[in-house]
């Protein structure tokens, strides 16, 4: 980023500017989110809306991130600005910026269905998921059904192969099974029987 850009950002947004590997980044409170984006467009010349997304920060909440740029003129280097805000996990509501950048409406609809973030006065509606879809797939607590069903490449121990696991007579597989060691499980994927459909009448196993 060019010298002077962080200072201009700090003055216009009245916030501390961080240098993220050459990218100017500002964190604002949720109440100033839409104002900050509008100020960046009107006073800093960030007229190019690049993207808007969110990050599931687990206990900290949901972080909404917006990337803006000043279109370069006359061979000047491009100036970019990232604005972020952190929403509480139990009530992730923030003002929409679709009124500032009309193109942000699509991004907000995607963030809304993927993370369950509510954009007040936004364009509303989903974007990619089919009607009636339950859950928010980019939340970290969302279970990917295909991962419960698919074999995990990391399940093997050193010295094992797909062939040795399939062959009970194989000495390597036999040794691993005899050792009684608990097999590694992929992170974020429940054990078979803990999640998903099961035979009627069978008990649900303990949830990890």
């Amino acid at each position: 980023m060019s010298p002077g850009w962080p200072a201009r950002v700090a003055t216009a947004l009245a916030a501390e500017v961080h240098d993220d590997f050459g990218l100017a980044r500002v964190d604002v409170v949720p109440g100033h989110w839409a104002d900050a984006v509008r100020t960046a467009r009107d006073e800093l010349g960030c007229t190019f809306f690049d993207w808007l997304t969110a990050v599931d920060e687990l206990h900290d909440g949901y972080r909404v991130v917006c990337h803006l740029a000043v279109p370069p003129a006359g061979g000047a280097p491009i100036q970019v600005l990232m604005i972020r805000t952190l929403l509480p996990r139990d009530e992730p509501v923030v003002a929409s910026v679709a009124g500032v950048f009309a193109g942000a409406g699509w991004h907000e609809r995607e963030v809304s269905e993927m993370f369950g973030v509510v954009f007040a006065d936004g364009t509303g509606g989903g974007l990619l998921l089919p009607p009636g879809f339950v859950g928010h797939p980019l939340r970290k607590d969302f279970v990917l059904a295909s991962r419960v069903a698919a074999p995990w490449p990391g399940a093997k121990e050193p010295g094992e192969s797909d062939a040795s696991l399939a062959d009970p007579a194989d000495p390597a597989a036999g040794a691993a099974n005899r050792s009684g060691r608990r097999r590694s499980r992929p992170p974020g994927v429940p054990e078979p029987g803990d999640w998903g459909p099961r035979e009627p009448g069978t008990a649900k196993r303990g949830v990890r």
Partner: protein, 110 residues
């Protein structure tokens, strides 16, 4: 052609001699795109002592149709057996052909 910027991510290459089949990369991979097969060889060290079992690599494959180039496997490898190579032209017309075995993964080493 302009020079590639720093932190460019091309393709992930395998230094086969450094791989101990420890499975760390396959377990950390968020895309589940690394497939490793190995077998154990038990030998008594020539200087004597307890017999030791080491894993010998039989198969190492990366499915580029799943890989998202996050580089976690490169970061997590304790033996630097995976590294970024600057090349990036390896497109295929068939998704199945994007599963590259260890011979091909070794080709990227400069």
């Amino acid at each position: 052609m302009s020079e590639l910027p720093p932190r460019s991510r091309g393709v992930i290459a395998l230094v086969e001699d450094s791989c101990t089949s420890c499975m760390l990369c396959a377990r950390e991979c968020p895309s589940w795109c690394i497939h490793i097969d190995s077998h154990g060889v038990t030998e008594v060290p020539p200087e004597g002592g307890r017999a030791r079992t080491t894993a010998v690599l039989d198969r190492f494959a990366i499915d580029w149709s799943l890989c998202m180039y996050c580089g976690i496997c490169v970061e997590v490898c304790p033996f630097d057996a995976l590294e970024w190579a600057p090349a990036h032209a390896y497109g295929e017309s068939d998704a199945g052909a994007l599963l590259h075995e260890r011979e091909r993964l070794g080709d990227w080493l400069g």
